[in-house]
């Protein structure tokens, strides 16, 4: 791999040639300007034009909450800038080089930087709506989809960052949501409660808090109150039975749990329904509402808390409520919720139709009567800024050459909690800041009111873009942005090759999943065999013994099948990853890199990968967005991920794996910003939290400790992953001390059992002891590790 200066020089040569400005400037000067991060210079040309070298700069905030979004936003800005200079008047422009913050252009033009800046601002303003709501278009720097943002299942916990959007985008937002919802309904197999779809409907179209809190109630109201779809359509989709009036009356009459006032209230209710809704199934709601279990309890009340029992509430409040209210708030809400939670009793095709119909009709209403139907209940949440102001806020901090059009006009009292420099406008919500909302941060001490806004518009928009790409998730009750592992790589890879790498990773995930499934079957079969053997030993009846022997044989066959499947997936894994054949195990429990993948939280999108910027000298910045490590059972959601990202040893194990997968020696970056500077663009280097680690260092030091940790810890899965990771870090910190502790806690010296696995080695009679050469080997390796450190310290 060439050094940075050579690559930039080649790029400069090409740009000069393409612009035909060989007489006006040398490649050395251009390359030198890039390396020195020069902002602007111009030189006159014979034709009367001028040759401009300029840097377009947009800062990246390196806070985890906004980092990815900021990177995506900068990509959008850079592409908008490239479009501006390529379109019309500035068509003689060429990008020389770029990193994630700076883009260096050569322009042959007669215009001033101020004019270019004005055009650029107009282009950004024009494209903002597309950025926020359009489907992915990498050519324009637009990533993700609004559909990714609609995976919430509770509407009342601020699940969508609508408060970072100006009011003027309400229509665009509604349109995008409508399209996404229709796609979502079409794609959904409706094999379980469509809570996400109904929550989306309630969030964007409800008129008040009670509708938003209860999507089933809102769905009922759409049919009975707002007439968005007919009540008959809803009844058909929920398979509400066509109960005859006399049947219902008999049922109520015979019901011993209902006393006279209740029966009267029910009669009034039936009268109300007959008068207002004359569908063939309108009385079926009551049959379902009053259904009982075999044990004689109210079916809809079973398993619910005292204050959430619908029939209980009816019995308690029927006398004090109007029939209309009882039907709307108790009967329909409870029956819709119950039918949707038992989705198999519904007619799925009709349900799909009715949901689609609701979305389309709500969309039509939003278009025709925006005051009443355009995102009615969340209207107040929109940002009170117009498009012009938003553009200025988003461009604040960016510069074009020496022109910094949007410098902050006045000093900011308490800055944004992410970037620290812009004024706060967005509130401290979970969907914006994750789980750490309302927690102390440096600026919060200066704010008198805890409820005051905490983030600036630009950072909030970056979070929005991030959620648009990778979605959000519910952690407990609040909806928070999904977290991720972000890896940048500079490499000479074309689109096909990037595709191949990500396909391989997806395939590795599939194989690991298959292996885990087979492993579970084998474990279960082993358990069954063990239990059956125990029973067999105790059994006296011959028939019983035969049955148990059959069971054992059956489970043995199942175990063999599972073992064959494991062996097959191992072979496939080794075939897929040929670089592993010599030295590694395809079993994730013994292989640190594969264990990282095996413990990642899989999602539908798997690996997001994008090529950012326009590349240089064939080198392009490739961005991998990988899912985070899943937490062990009953631990906080980032329990494993936090430990992983703090562990330089583990991160380099993952980066080594990716490096071998892509087969080039371009640098990789984890929690680091790739910049065009010689010290951050070295071949064969991993940058972990901005600290360079050479590949050889990773191989000699880090691999030894991870390999050892993965052989010693017994547990597998996420819990085991964390234990192994902690052991690897301890081994790295104090190799021989930690290994001594491991040896003390292993069944080798003086102990019959220990917490750690014994390294392979059989009992040798001629030595009078177990073969512990494996331990000696690792002590040697760890001593060398100490030696490396010692030399490192001396350096």
């Amino acid at each position: 791999m060439e050094v940075t200066a050579d690559i930039i020089y080649q790029q400069a040569e090409e740009a000069i040639k393409e612009l035909g400005v060989e007489d006006s400037v040398s490649a050395e000067r251009v390359a030198d300007s890039v390396m020195r991060q020069a902002a602007y210079w111009e030189t006159p040309m014979r034709s009367g034009e001028k040759l401009i070298f300029l840097r377009f700069f947009s800062p990246v905030v390196q806070r985890e909450e906004v980092f990815l979004g900021n990177v995506l936003f900068n990509d959008f800005l850079s592409k908008a800038f490239a479009r501006t200079v390529a379109n019309g008047k500035y068509n003689k422009a060429k990008l020389v080089a770029n990193d994630l913050e700076s883009y260096y252009f050569l322009l042959r033009t007669s215009h001033s930087v101020e004019q270019i800046g004005g055009e650029f601002r107009a282009e950004v303003k024009r494209s903002l709506s597309e950025l926020f709501f359009s489907e992915q278009d990498e050519g324009k720097g637009i990533y993700g989809s609004v559909e990714n943002m609609l995976n919430f299942v509770k509407a009342d916990v601020e699940p969508f960052p609508v408060f970072v959007m100006p009011q003027v985008y309400a229509k665009d937002l509604e349109r995008a949501v409508r399209q996404s919802l229709l796609q979502k309904i079409e794609k959904s197999v409706l094999d379980r409660n469509p809570t996400s779809i109904t929550a989306n409907l309630a969030f964007f179209y409800s008129h008040n808090g009670t509708e938003m809190q209860s999507p089933p109630k809102f769905l009922g109201r759409l049919a009975f109150q707002y007439k968005v779809m007919s009540s008959e359509q809803l009844e058909t989709s929920l398979n509400i039975p066509g109960t005859a009036q006399n049947e219902l009356e008999t049922l109520i009459e015979k019901e011993s749990l209902l006393d006279k006032p209740h029966k009267e209230a029910l009669s009034a209710l039936i009268q109300y329904v007959n008068d207002n809704f004359s569908t063939p199934y309108c009385l079926g709601w009551f049959e379902l509402f009053l259904a009982k279990t075999d044990k004689g309890a109210w079916k809809l009340d079973v398993g619910k808390k005292q204050d959430q029992k619908p029939v209980g509430r009816f019995l308690k409040e029927a006398g004090s409520m109007s029939s209309e209210k009882v039907f709307d708030e108790i009967v329909v809400k409870a029956v819709v919720a119950d039918r949707l939670s038992n989705i198999d009793v519904c007619s799925k095709s009709n349900l799909r139709k009715v949901l689609k119909k609701a979305v389309r009709s709500l969309g039509e209403k939003a278009e025709s009567d925006p005051d009443a139907w355009l995102t009615p209940y969340i209207q107040a949440k929109f940002l009170s800024r117009n498009e012009e102001e938003l553009t200025d806020l988003l461009l604040s901090g960016s510069s074009i050459g020496y022109n910094t059009p949007n410098l902050f006009g006045s000093a900011v009292g308490v800055g944004c909690r992410f970037c620290g420099i812009r004024p706060n406008e967005a509130e401290d919500k979970n969907i914006l800041v994750g789980q750490s909302n309302h927690k102390f941060h440096n600026h919060s001490s200066k704010q008198k009111n805890k409820e005051e806004p905490k983030a600036c518009v630009r950072c909030s928009a970056c979070v929005y873009l991030m959620i648009k790409l990778i979605g959000s998730e519910s952690v407990g009750k609040p909806q928070v942005p999904k977290t991720y592992n972000l890896i940048f790589h500079y490499g000479r890879h074309d689109d096909d090759e990037v595709e191949r790498i990500t396909r391989t990773i997806d395939r590795v995930w599939d194989l690991l999943h298959e292996r885990r499934e087979a492993g579970n079957i084998r474990r279960e079969a082993n358990k069954q065999i063990r239990e059956a053997k125990e029973k067999l030993e105790r059994a006296k009846n011959e028939q019983k013994k035969l049955e148990l022997e059959d069971e054992i044989a059956r489970n043995r066959a199942q175990r063999e099948q599972a073992e064959a499947a494991i062996s097959e997936t191992d072979d496939k894994t080794l075939e897929l990853l040929p670089f592993m054949k010599d030295w590694d195990s395809p079993n994730p429990a013994e292989n640190p890199s594969l264990d990282v993948w095996a413990n990642s939280q899989l999602s539908e999108s798997r690996v997001e990968r994008h090529v950012l910027g326009l590349g240089m000298g064939g080198y392009r910045v490739i961005l991998f967005v990988l899912p985070q490590i899943s937490a062990p059972y009953e631990k906080e959601h980032d329990f494993a991920q936090r430990r992983f990202s703090y562990s330089r040893v583990m991160v380099t194990a993952l980066l080594s794996f990716l490096r071998q997968l892509c087969g080039c020696d371009g640098p990789f970056y984890y929690q680091s910003l790739p910049t065009l500077a010689p010290e951050t663009f070295k071949p064969g280097t991993f940058y972990v939290r901005n600290q360079p680690i050479s590949v050889s260092e990773a191989q000699t030091e880090y691999e030894a400790v991870t390999q050892l940790a993965w052989r010693l810890v017994q547990q597998s899965g996420s819990d085991g992953f964390v234990r192994k990771l902690i052991l690897a870090e301890k081994l790295m910190k104090d190799p021989l001390g930690t290994f001594s502790a491991v040896m003390r806690d292993t069944a080798i010296l003086g102990r019959g059992k220990g917490r750690y696995k014994q390294l392979p080695g059989e009992y040798r009679k001629e030595w009078g002891m177990h073969d512990l050469t494996g331990y000696a080997k690792f002590i040697r390796q760890l001593s060398k590790l100490e030696e490396v450190k010692r030399h490192g310290d001396q350096r």
Partner: protein, 230 residues
Amino acid sequence: MAISVDREKLDEFCSKLFRTLDNLGLLPRSLGWRRDASGRPRKIAPTEFEKYPRLLFGSIQRYNDVEAGFREWESRLLRAVKSPNVRDEHHPDLVDLRQWMVDHKEVFSKGANVQHLRTSLLARVFDYLYPRRVLAIAFCSAHKGDAGAIEPESLDKELPNFIETDVQIQKLREVYGEEEWKAIATDTRSSLIANAAYYRMVLGEKETLALSAEEVKEAEEQLESEEESE
């Protein structure tokens, strides 16, 4: 971040200390099993490897003075050596070790160094003893019944041959590398000669070092159940 300790000095010290203790016969002769007075097999515990080095560190810490601490430890050590010949022969080793420690007393006044020695002691002593004991025992096992095999002249000839031909020993040799292995072979030769009485018993099959695989399994199970009941 790595703990900052004077590793080169500590490595040198450990090697001197272990060699001295081994010459005085104060380190276990076997790393696996041995029979107690009742004939029951017992696993050699880590404390048996670490006993004397730990006493030394404790003594230095108690006196807060390297020389005073060493002298107290030295007298205790010499009382533990049963053979007067061995005591007299290897006393100069102790004097050398004391001098080295006094010359490098700053190493032992640094808390991180002593702490590191305490925590890493087992790995270090294992690293020293394992190849030497394995080589000695494997050599004796290969020459069972030949009491003359550990005579100096015979050893000069047979030990290098054995090292070259035994597959398992070759594997062990690969782990340590040529330079280190030379020292291991030399130490083993000295140990076989110095502890000839013991190794003659091994050669004459009077010392029943080797347990059968079944005996080991049974003993392991016994040990495990004892630990569980604790």
